[in-house]
């Protein structure tokens, strides 16, 4: 599970995620995982927590991909999981990564997903710029 430390992408991604959180007040936390299962941005500062989150998200993506293939699809474009403590929402990015967010149990999930889908293009743009460097 690699972590990027380059100021360019991290800063840009952090800005996009901060904008998303400002736009969608129901979001408790959010992160971006690359198609290579690298955690590109997270609210956690410690390396241990980041590795744990990256591993959990990667496991979730693998499971989601497996379920999609069982149904004859390549992958899920969007995944919503309801838990007792809140919701976990995933929106797939162009390069195979995901934008993930957590909310509380009373969140307006439809609105949050709408805001996440709107942020997707900007995140894809930031990641594409990084891959060109």
């Amino acid at each position: 599970m690699a972590e990027r430390t380059g100021a360019g992408t991290d800063g840009d991604l952090d800005r996009v995620l901060a904008d998303l959180r400002a736009l969608s007040g129901d979001i408790a936390s959010c992160a971006v995982l690359s198609g290579d299962r690298d955690l590109l941005s997270s609210s956690h500062a410690s390396a241990v927590d980041r590795q744990r989150i990256g591993a959990l998200l990667a496991a979730l993506m693998d499971l989601s991909d497996r379920l999609a293939r069982e149904g004859g699809k390549d992958h899920a474009a969007q995944l919503r999981i309801d838990t007792a403590d809140g919701h976990l929402l995933l929106v797939r990015l162009d390069g195979g990564g995901v934008l993930a967010a957590t909310t509380g149990p009373e969140a307006r999930v439809g609105l949050v997903l709408y805001d996440m889908r709107n942020s997707r293009a900007e995140i894809d743009k930031v990641l594409a710029e990084e891959s060109e460097r």
Binding site: Q78, L79, I81, D82, L88
Partner: protein, 69 residues
């Protein structure tokens, strides 16, 4: 005939009660929708909480929601 019918009803009640008690003791609950997958073609798949896949997704999601992203 009436006696037989009464016995059948009683037997059904006992069997239903035993089944309900068994499910309760096993900790099983009614299925609820736990996950929703939306695909590129617009189709959707729902996973219930009492399926293996639904449970697996919910367990991972629960950990992530607890510690945050």
């Amino acid at each position: 005939m009436k006696k037989l019918l009464r016995r059948l009803v009683l037997l059904g009640v006992i069997a239903g009660g035993a089944y309900a008690a068994l499910r309760y003791l096993r900790g099983e609950s009614a299925a609820t929708e736990t996950a929703q997958m939306v695909f590129d073609d617009g189709s959707t798949r729902f996973l219930a909480s009492n399926t293996a896949e639904g449970k697996e997704l919910a367990e991972i999601a629960q950990k992530i929601v607890e510690i945050g992203l």
